[in-house]
Symmetry: D2
Subunit: 342 residues, 4 copies
Amino acid sequence: MQLGMIGAGRMGANIVRRLLRAGHDCVAYDVDPTAVAELVADGARGAATVDELVAALEPPRAVWAMVPAGITGHVVTDVASRLSPGDAVIDGANGYYGDSIARAAVLAEDGIAHLDVGVSGGVFGLARGFSLMIGGDAAAVERLAPIFRDLAPGVDSAERTPGRTGAPAPAEEGWLHCGGPGAGHLVKMVHNGIEYGMMAAVAEGLNILDHAGIAVGRPDDDPEIAPLKGPERFRYDLDLAEITEVWRRGSVVSSWLVDLTAAALHADPDLAGYQGRVADSGEGRWTVQTAVELGVPAHVIAGSLFARFSSRGESDYGDRVLSAMRHQFGGHVEHPVTGPPT
Amino acid sequence: MQLGMIGAGRMGANIVRRLLRAGHDCVAYDVDPTAVAELVADGARGAATVDELVAALEPPRAVWAMVPAGITGHVVTDVASRLSPGDAVIDGANGYYGDSIARAAVLAEDGIAHLDVGVSGGVFGLARGFSLMIGGDAAAVERLAPIFRDLAPGVDSAERTPGRTGAPAPAEEGWLHCGGPGAGHLVKMVHNGIEYGMMAAVAEGLNILDHAGIAVGRPDDDPEIAPLKGPERFRYDLDLAEITEVWRRGSVVSSWLVDLTAAALHADPDLAGYQGRVADSGEGRWTVQTAVELGVPAHVIAGSLFARFSSRGESDYGDRVLSAMRHQFGGHVEHPVTGPPT
Amino acid sequence: MQLGMIGAGRMGANIVRRLLRAGHDCVAYDVDPTAVAELVADGARGAATVDELVAALEPPRAVWAMVPAGITGHVVTDVASRLSPGDAVIDGANGYYGDSIARAAVLAEDGIAHLDVGVSGGVFGLARGFSLMIGGDAAAVERLAPIFRDLAPGVDSAERTPGRTGAPAPAEEGWLHCGGPGAGHLVKMVHNGIEYGMMAAVAEGLNILDHAGIAVGRPDDDPEIAPLKGPERFRYDLDLAEITEVWRRGSVVSSWLVDLTAAALHADPDLAGYQGRVADSGEGRWTVQTAVELGVPAHVIAGSLFARFSSRGESDYGDRVLSAMRHQFGGHVEHPVTGPPT
Amino acid sequence: MQLGMIGAGRMGANIVRRLLRAGHDCVAYDVDPTAVAELVADGARGAATVDELVAALEPPRAVWAMVPAGITGHVVTDVASRLSPGDAVIDGANGYYGDSIARAAVLAEDGIAHLDVGVSGGVFGLARGFSLMIGGDAAAVERLAPIFRDLAPGVDSAERTPGRTGAPAPAEEGWLHCGGPGAGHLVKMVHNGIEYGMMAAVAEGLNILDHAGIAVGRPDDDPEIAPLKGPERFRYDLDLAEITEVWRRGSVVSSWLVDLTAAALHADPDLAGYQGRVADSGEGRWTVQTAVELGVPAHVIAGSLFARFSSRGESDYGDRVLSAMRHQFGGHVEHPVTGPPT
């Protein structure tokens, strides 16, 4: 079927390409004409303006906005102003689900459906398929099902869950109408919160293993640090690329994230290409904020988010406060940065 | 090749069965003769005593102990006392790696190799293969490689990591000689620590989604609880079985743990069969303790462990301390358990 | 000087009483005439309506609203509509500082000053004095300084900080103009966040000590729980009322919260009067949310907030998810609630 | 009464001085004769060897060892070998309480009492008095009560707890016989764990306030970071020295740690003298390890410990793992360290 795509960046372009391969008719627009041209070369129709894109689609239209989270509100509102009752706008950005609820209500006044779609799969989505979590009007979701079905990985990409038989449900194909407006972005938000926690679990574990040789050459008589009992337990030199590789098959932690970690460590065993200043997007933050609003504990997800903040030096002032207190009550003096290991 | 197995419980029996299917010659002993008889029915040779088991093996022997963590030390020491120089004992329990280091040193004095093998895969190992993390003498590991290779899932059980070519490394088959004595149990310990963190991430996320309907029927005027802003954001009724199902394909959190969660929720959507008193074994505790000894942060793994403690009511006294403080400084009185939602 | 007080609950009434004792002229209004009558008996003037209260004050007026957080916005807006340019409204509730910024901007359009004042001290404030954190227009704060000074505990209530000499600064008297609109509520919000963390630290420590006899009578052979090494370390029967008492003098943790804990434990050594369902107000939540917005780590404050949520059973669903996963991969069955200790 | 002191460092010397001021007879030994000479100048008797010190005391003797935690075991064992039945050794170091249990058992075989005494008060103890948490033989504690009483701050150093009347209990004077061997060091260990948590709560809160001006000059269009909503809430320039000062009187967080923080900030408002590499001693680590062994949650204390580890760069490898994962699945590239604020 027909789909208009606004935004031909990494994600938007791959969505279009996957749809083209499945035989859909896509019209693409981007502020960067080069990005559009590349999609045209792959079989899409190009549009030089949003108006052109809208004109190139037959009602009831479906326009997917795949633009940075910071501007998705503007883009959705703008395109909606050019659409007609019965049309649908799909917001595929990592947006805050509360904003999606509000936007859907506004568009509904003009008879335009607003679908909020959380898209997971990253740069691998073109080949593996995208996981789609969809919120909004049920009729619009049903109408656009062919799009979602072809974007999703398909039921064969994993063994069926025990007990599930018959025709696969959409969730088994990799897409799901989660509920009314906002539900898609809500589920995607929590998905990313879980992702933060899983990533941190792996990182913490590997960090422990990376330190497993700490007793080699360590001074034992520094009064400022705790002495090491049983140093024979801390003299390993482990190969983390091989360890993550072995976890990929048959282990309880086998997961796509472990697959990716094994790939990264195979390519760069010392991770020398990274500084460890870990960025975060809104999703992790919103998840913690929502947990707080709902009054449910989220030790792990919050801990993983805060660790990212710390990785960027955001705990420095607090750390200096701690050293200042220690100096006050105990006369303790900090080790200089260039000093012995602490 | 030949292997003696002491312990024919769930794990030991499945290891034997998987080896039998691959054509190995297994001798099994268990305190429970019925368990041995079942393995004999599947093609193993049975032994009525440890001595019988030892006598049934040709040197250099390999005896695998797969018994509860609490008694593995006794069993290993006991069987080693009946073995000869050149033989090997494999400790496959979830043991503390420091104990494995000590035991290997003792057995080495008698010329007996001690291999500590972390085994992951649970009840699915028979069919999927077991993930094996091995520590100890390199020569013994090499000699027993056929055993490990056939127990492991094999390279075909996952796509190869990009950049890996040629003959698959053992890690790609699903087994790895991680290092000297203790390395296997150390890597398994950290594996389980990661597992705790991943599980908690999933549980927290689903708990958030489970609360996403909190605004339905909620009183808004209780001075003891924070008022809910934007209640339209908290009126969802989500189907968590479908949501975990959709995450199984193409999403960043796709993992065996999500697979299992989807299966559990499909079978029992309300999880009515569980009380939420979550057990923990030594592995998670040792991981946190080791992190503390090494001086590396483990917010997520520790948080997941503590949450299990709390699930069993172990924070109750501390919680009463908090309520007592609040009563002292603010005159606050607790809501009765049977009262309004807090 | 003159002050009108709207709200004669626990906090509002004690503020009036402390001002009366210092010789100020207070007019009080409350929806409950009895509460007003009690203040009149203590020397205040009573008002039957807000209009009466406003009429009883000479311009430039100062009206303090001390009402529950949920209605403070309405009350402030309402009273401001009856005031004149040059008057001031003081919002003493535990309000969200972002709301205070917005309200101050609205009132400023009518020439009315809005001061947001965080008040700490609880039920002891009448005797000990209140700690006041003030945001808003500097001129209004200066005009009302006599009120703030007399409400505050005064410089003699603690030793002067080393290096501070000369006339005490307002902060040394116990009140502070923290900054522009919202600054008072912001500082109070963070104060309460710190309070949550401190309280949790004490509660966790006492909970550890409360468990220090865990080895007495504990079964050692439960395969579902980690065996206890060195049980001689866990056979204490400690007197927590005495322990908190000893911490009150000379120790690094000496603090008002420890004072209160010692008092609570002296009065009720088993804390039998509490169930351990710990309430939270908006302050702790806003602190965590603000930390997330600012991108700064708050492991401790968030951890203390989440522990309160868990104390009220809000982790139950997530805990059941964990047990379900464990059942899936390991065949583990939960201990019944009435079973052996886990 | 008489006391021998081994170790005339900061803590040992101040203990001797406080006892001398109270009229006790002290004999001091240290490997550094200068330290002894200084105490002799203050009225102590000096000893050139441990034997001399023992000879200078009349039985039943009491010898206090106040040496670094790493060597306290050696010192206690050594001095005990020179003592007679009925004598007592006091271990005042921050030792692990399990070691104290073991040492007390060994000394008991020779009829020598071993008291483990946790000492809090830091460099201020000489003037304020020391808080003493004591474990070991009740008779020895009773015999040495005059020593403990004079070291402690005394009942007048804080208001009496409501409900406590009559002759003050030892805990009210600031010293407590907590229980049998190890109980003193156990209670001190947990005290320090609480201290870690309280310190972290203050540090986190001040760090939040330190960031309260984050919106000033912040770019709003970086796709790698979450956009800032309501930037008017983040334009403060707060004076943290004044804010901690105001919290010292009447607030719920008033505490010695806040006193010290206010002093540190008054002396060095930017904390320019600190780098924020926060040391930890064994106490915090042992507290977390003990919590894990006991199966009780310690989110806050563990979080505060891990944050210290992170402050020293110990999360760096894990952070690089996270960035590597993000690069793998999303193609995300880290901001260079010298780049825009993240």
